[in-house]
């Protein structure tokens, strides 16, 4: 039986990781032209895969509220200013968990590990598409530029999130893969 306590604690801890990755800048990886790839949404995906869609929504909420506060109180770059709008920072993040969970449920039937990787990709793409979509609807950015960002930033972010999600969940659940241990 999956208890309520379990859901509460996993949401809280994964939310804390998301906040920590953002606040310490460990969650940003420098990419072309000053833009940074972010992995702050990975805790949302991991929480959703481990504990279901509601936990995903709650972690997404924590992630969204934090990015709103970060945009308002301690902006790290020009793009952070847009995230003061809760429709950009909170609403899209609520959908990451449920999308990742649905894809995981759908693919898990065939095999566990590809299911987790697919969930990582789906969750990351949900984040990219919805955030950029809202930015486009608000006319903060022209649609052509949004298309470019979606490909240049969203693609590597999805790949990265799939790698980390798979690595963490296989390590946690003790799933046997060909490679064991880590290399530095």
């Amino acid at each position: 039986m999956k208890s309520k306590v379990r859901k509460i604690v996993i949401s809280g801890v994964m939310g804390a990781i998301s906040i920590f990755l953002g606040a310490s800048h460990l969650g940003f990886i420098p990419w072309f032209a000053g833009a940074a790839l972010t992995i702050m949404h990975v805790p949302v995906i991991i929480g959703a895969v481990l504990e279901g869609p509601i936990v995903g929504i709650v972690i997404g909420l924590i992630f969204g509220v934090f990015s709103l506060l970060q945009g308002a109180i301690a902006p790290t770059g020009p793009a952070d200013v847009w995230f003061v709008n809760p429709l950009v920072s909170i609403l899209p993040r609520l959908a990451i968990g449920p999308c990742a969970w649905l894809v995981y449920r759908a693919v898990r039937g065939f095999k566990e590990v590809p299911g987790v990787a697919a969930a990582g990709i789906a969750g990351s793409l949900t984040n990219t598409v919805l955030v950029l979509g809202v930015l486009g609807l608000y006319k903060y950015l022209p649609w052509q530029l949004i298309g470019t960002i979606a490909v240049v930033n969203g693609g590597p972010e999805a790949a990265l999130s799939a790698i980390i999600t798979t690595a963490v969940i296989t390590a946690w659940k003790g799933i046997q893969t060909r490679r064991q241990g880590s290399r530095v």
């Binding site: 306590v5 990781i17 906040i19 690595a167 530095v184």
Partner: protein
């Protein structure tokens, strides 16, 4: 002896939402009232379409900030980071969105550069809107501690519990998150040191994306796994103490709203309502036209 700051310490960088206890009137205000007013302020700042109502909100926020007895400099520091960008964003809005359709009149035209009264208003409004939200959130974070914030959110959501909304559970989740951040920072520091002692170099100089990721993985994966282990310890501890959730629990801190708190709420709502009324009355354009006419007469 002062210890030297190393590249592994992350706790120092966590400065979002500083609480500065000065014991002022704003600090003693019921946190529930502060949460309601903060939410209303952010919402109305997004809705308003008028400069005068933005000025009303700005004046109210600055008045609130002066009541906290925190130096205004601290609140303005966060604005400084984004000042240049905001001006650029506003200029783009002024020049690229002429908005000629809704009966706007042309103020300035030279070549392809066009400014209409509508675009000028929307550009300046964009700056004001962000300033109001940023100062409002700083006002809130200066005067409200995280414990107060979480308790007040739980209290405010309590009526929704009757229809099955998990108010207590959400508050507990937020509390766990906040309490776990320092633990995670400590774990991350330890992990980075451990990997560095095995020869990992986290200071990246080149733009080598793949190499950077390969260096991050031995840090991130253990960080996730260690925090999941912490989570399991906490789950076991809570379950062995028979934690059953919100029903019938009493809390150590009880919130009491007095007459002064309700009066503040009434005044705050009145200010926000007047700002919204001004916004819907659309008196900006006549005011702006008047100012513009006088400027053109002067030169």
């Amino acid at each position: 002896m002062m210890r030297e700051k190393s590249e592994f310490e992350h706790l120092i960088k966590l400065s979002v939402g500083q609480y500065i206890p000065t014991g002022s009137v704003m600090h003693r205000l019921d946190p529930r009232i502060k949460v309601i007013m903060g939410a209303l302020l952010v919402l109305s700042a997004i809705i308003i379409g008028s400069l005068i109502s933005a000025l009303i909100l700005l004046a109210a926020v600055i008045f609130g900030l002066s009541l906290t007895r925190v130096q205004l400099k601290l609140a303005l520091a966060s604005l400084r980071h984004m000042a240049i960008f905001l001006v650029v964003l506003a200029l783009i809005q002024i020049f690229t969105i002429p908005q000629l359709h809704s009966g706007a009149s042309m103020l300035f035209q030279r070549g392809i550069l066009k400014i209409t009264d509508r675009s000028l208003i929307s550009g300046i409004l964009l700056i004001f809107r962000f300033v109001v939200i940023v100062l409002g959130l700083s006002l809130f974070s200066f005067s409200t501690s995280t414990t107060e914030l979480i308790h007040s959110i739980e209290h405010l959501l309590r009526p929704l519990q009757k229809i099955g909304f998990p108010a207590h559970e959400l508050a507990l989740t937020a509390h766990i998150s906040i309490r776990f951040i320092p633990i995670l920072a400590g774990e991350a520091e330890q992990l980075m040191k451990a990997q560095a002692s095995r020869g990992a170099d986290f200071a990246y100089r080149k733009w080598n994306f793949i190499r950077k990721i390969r260096k991050m993985l031995p840090l991130l994966v253990p960080l996730f796994v260690v925090s999941l282990k912490h989570a399991h310890n906490l789950i076991e501890a809570m379950e062995s103490r028979c934690y059953m959730g919100g029903k019938g629990r009493t809390s150590l801190i009880r919130l009491h709203a007095g007459l002064g708190d309700y009066l503040t709420l009434a005044v705050g709502c009145a200010v926000i309502a007047s700002a919204l009324l001004v916004s819907f009355a659309d008196i900006d354009r006549t005011a702006l036209e008047w100012v513009w006419k006088n400027i053109t007469i002067l030169f």
